[in-house]
């Protein structure tokens, strides 16, 4: 590791490269095979009939729609918080920055159930109730045990991952280009929107994907804070959890496979478009 390669002969280097790349592939493949094997194993626990039955149920179709929409909404919200917060944490050093940094990690380390419980308690307090009442007056909907609770619960955890990713992205982008823009007469905000944001597009895409995937899989906080009301707050992972907890493995697996295919489709499409640059 510490020795830099010292003029190896071409043949030796070519052979070494093959061995090296082969080793990388082997290590990587172990994980890929594990994932695929797991899916195949899951497949044995269900039949096309079960999947069709799941797709045929309006409640499951609703759960699919709600999952996709709520995850996208919480991703959007997460990005609007993660980009500024990640930028501030990365570019500015100030007293208490490490504390802030640690606070951002709390939703990641907290057991999901506690996140849900925390939100529930928060909305029982006087200010929480006031917010809930104000929200109800404007929209006619509630937050607790309603769809906003689903989005909020997903956002709480997803956003932490997005902030982490954006922070790393900004850390890795050199502040030089930004400084050049400033010396060329840009205001800070112009530099931010015209230089920093385009530069960190890949990072944003990663942050968005991570936040979206995380939101889609979230169920602990959702179960506690939003309940599991069919056709209202039941998202796919809650369906799966509840089916499993009553021993309906086949149904749970069928729904899981639906969720996996929806997620893979969206993620692949997002990556293809995102890397072409037509997203954001």
């Amino acid at each position: 590791m510490t020795d830099a390669p010292t003029q190896p002969t071409r043949r030796r280097s070519a052979l070494a490269d093959v061995v090296f790349i082969g080793a990388l592939w082997k290590l990587g493949l172990i994980y890929l095979i594990l994932i695929v094997a797991m899916l195949v194993a899951l497949e044995t626990f269900t039949t096309p009939a079960h999947i069709l039955e799941a797709l045929d149920s309006p409640a499951i179709r609703y759960a699919v729609t709600l999952s996709l929409i709520s995850a996208t909404l919480s991703t959007l919200l997460s990005l609007w918080v993660a980009v500024p917060l990640g930028y501030l944490l990365s570019r500015y050093s100030f007293r208490g920055r490490s504390l802030l940094d640690a606070i951002v990690d709390i939703p990641i380390v907290l057991p999901p159930l506690v996140v849900g419980l925390g939100l529930l308690v928060l909305f029982q307090t006087a200010p929480g109730r006031a917010i809930e009442d104000a929200f109800n007056a404007v929209t006619g909907r509630h937050i607790t045990f309603d769809i906003p609770a689903v989005i909020l619960a997903q956002f709480m955890v997803a956003c932490a991952f997005a902030v982490r990713t954006m922070r790393v992205t900004f850390d890795q982008n050199s502040p030089r280009t930004e400084q050049v823009a400033l010396t060329l007469g840009c205001s800070r905000s112009q530099a931010f929107w015209m230089v920093v944001v385009p530069e960190s597009r890949r990072g944003m895409l990663t942050a968005a994907t991570l936040a979206w995937a995380r939101s889609l899989g979230e169920f602990g906080p959702v179960l506690i804070f939003a309940g599991a009301t069919r056709m209202r707050t039941e998202v796919l992972p809650t369906t799966i959890f509840l089916e499993l907890s009553i021993g309906e493995i086949e149904a749970a697996v069928a729904v899981s496979l639906l969720m996996i295919s929806a997620a893979v489709t969206v993620l692949v499409v997002a990556r293809v478009f995102g890397l072409k640059g037509s997203l954001l």
């Binding site: 709600l66 929409i69 419980l117 045990f145 309603d146 009301t229 069919r230 499993l244």
Partner: protein
């Protein structure tokens, strides 16, 4: 300032794109969850109303029309007459809502399959109504029997007050003598409704009549109590007439009619003694139901049907009962709680009206086919060595908590854990799955867990646990401060009706709720 402006200019595209995306997504969500099912102008509700209640009822109808633009067509008559009308009219042409002056009519209609949901409004009792100042100095029923007075009574077959009068006076041994005066033509006559009795006394056509206390108050007549009527209290009750294709509109009106801050107030203002636990009004009320996850397959479909039928929203929170209790302790108070076991009710019992036990689920020991280790009891489990034994989680699940308690009580806990490898699963079903794939030697689960999946039949054998405590009992309770106690009780009825009950049987639960048992009557 300039910087702010620049920020906005530069942020514009991102803001617009995000806002559009959010709007589109929220719009999609709204599309998916539009579920308002209250009444619309044009839905006509035909309301069969006991004559004595027609005055407050008209006031409620006027208020309802003002608030929701829905016309309710009032058809007043004696409670018995109305019941006959329901019986003799074809479904479809019948009224939708039946308000009887006493619950007996509602009960009879229910036996005949003519009404479904019913809600109490007020308590009334018969009194002797006399002209103001009581010019004839009437003091009791005896004066009506012996004196030379003109008396008007409501017909016992047509009007509720007549029926109750007859029943009360029969009990007091005075009915025959009073009725005899009718046949004698000696100044006692029958009329069709309580209102006609009141009018007769008001106009001086009669010296006395027997009416509801509320009717006497309303018409300004003086009432005279008689001990014969001390047990004559009746409950004014409104009920949904069935069959009904679109019950939500009629139930919406029934909820309005019986709400403490709407219809019931009109009754209270007119001197009715209204029932205490009436619902608070909400156009589309929301209930929160917490239930053990294992109960979901038994009740969820019934809850959805209930929502549609009543035009209400029931938020459901399913989880392990330990977690549900923790949620309640954070201050989240559900309107109803259906617990996996009594042990998960005691901690929060003070928040609820007395619970009603609905079903039971006995526990069993699962062993490998052929029972190679000869396990016949929990004691055998504790005295064996090196077994992989699966229990449910002792804190998160009722099953685990019960298992722990059984072992502790029999003094087997320490031995069993010391000599064997105990694996805690999250729920009984997970333990059964581990047993089915062969990774456990024995397990303690509910019978319903073990029988849930017929594919597992050859994977284990069941050994009964002959202990009265080896059984979980599922109680249902209604919150003490529920905003909609009547609606919550109807939810309970919906969950425990015949069809949902079959679901419980299919899932391996034993039904323990006695027939006709309502929560905290």
């Amino acid at each position: 300032m300039r910087r702010n402006a620049a920020f906005i200019t530069n942020a514009w595209p991102a803001v617009i794109v995000s806002a559009l995306a959010v709007a589109a997504l929220v719009g999609l969500l709204m599309l998916g969850s539009g579920n308002r099912s209250g009444p619309r102008a044009g839905d006509a509700v035909v309301f069969y109303c006991a004559a004595g209640m027609s005055e407050p009822a008209s006031a409620v109808i006027a208020q309802y029309r003002e608030e929701y633009g829905v016309d309710v067509q009032l058809e007043p008559a004696g409670s018995g007459t109305l019941l006959s009308r329901i019986r003799t009219t074809r479904p479809g042409l019948r009224g939708h809502v039946y308000l009887a002056a006493d619950q007996t009519y509602i009960d009879r209609a229910r036996e005949l399959g003519l009404v479904a949901e019913s809600v109490p409004i007020a308590r009334i009792r018969p009194v002797i109504a006399v002209a103001p100042g009581n010019p004839k100095k009437i003091a009791s029923i005896d004066d009506l029997i012996t004196g030379d007075l003109r008396v008007v009574l409501a017909n016992p077959d047509a009007a509720s007050v007549g029926r109750v009068t007859k029943k009360s006076l029969e009990a007091a041994g005075k009915w025959d003598r009073l009725a005899a005066r009718v046949t004698d033509g000696a100044g006692v006559s029958f009329v069709g409704t309580v209102n006609e009795v009141a009018v007769a006394v008001e106009t001086g056509a009669a010296d006395a009549g027997i009416v509801w206390d509320s009717v006497a108050k309303l018409t300004g007549l003086e009432s005279v109590d008689d001990p014969a009527f001390s047990k004559g209290d009746q409950t004014v009750t409104a009920a949904l007439v069935v069959p009904n294709d679109a019950p939500a509109a009629a139930l919406h009106f029934i909820r309005y009619l019986t709400a403490r801050d709407r219809g019931q107030r009109a009754f209270a203002d007119r001197g009715f003694d209204v029932v205490a636990d009436a619902d608070t009004w909400a156009d589309r009320p929301t209930l929160t139901l917490m239930a053990g996850a294992m109960l979901k397959p038994a009740i969820d479909a019934a809850v959805t049907d209930f929502e549609r039928r009543e035009g209400v929203t029931v938020n459901r929170v399913y989880n392990g009962c330990g977690i549900l209790v923790a949620q309640m302790k954070t201050g989240t108070q559900p309107d109803a709680y259906f617990s996996c076991d009594i042990s998960f009710m005691t901690d929060v019992a003070d928040r609820f009206d007395p619970a009603v036990n609905v079903s039971r689920n006995p526990m069993v020991i699962l062993v490998k086919p052929g029972n190679p280790r000869k396990i016949r009891s929990l004691r055998d489990l504790a005295s064996s060595e090196n077994l992989a034994i699966g229990f449910a989680h002792p804190e998160n699940s009722a099953l685990g908590a019960l298992t722990d308690r059984l072992l502790l009580r029999a003094n087997l806990h320490a031995d069993l854990y010391a000599r064997n490898r105990v694996i805690h699963g999250d729920s009984g079903h997970l333990v059964v799955n581990q047993m089915a794939v062969g990774s456990l030697d024995a397990a303690v689960v509910y019978r319903s867990n073990a029988l849930a999946n017929p594919d597992n039949a050859g994977a284990y054998e069941l050994v009964a646990i002959p202990d009265a405590d080896a059984i979980a009992t599922q109680p249902f309770a209604v919150s003490k401060n529920a905003a909609h106690p009547q609606l919550t009780r109807r939810l309970f009825n919906a969950i425990t009706e015949a069809a949902p009950r079959e679901r419980f049987d299919d899932l391996g639960f034993q039904w323990v709720l006695p027939a006709d048992k309502a929560v905290s009557p």
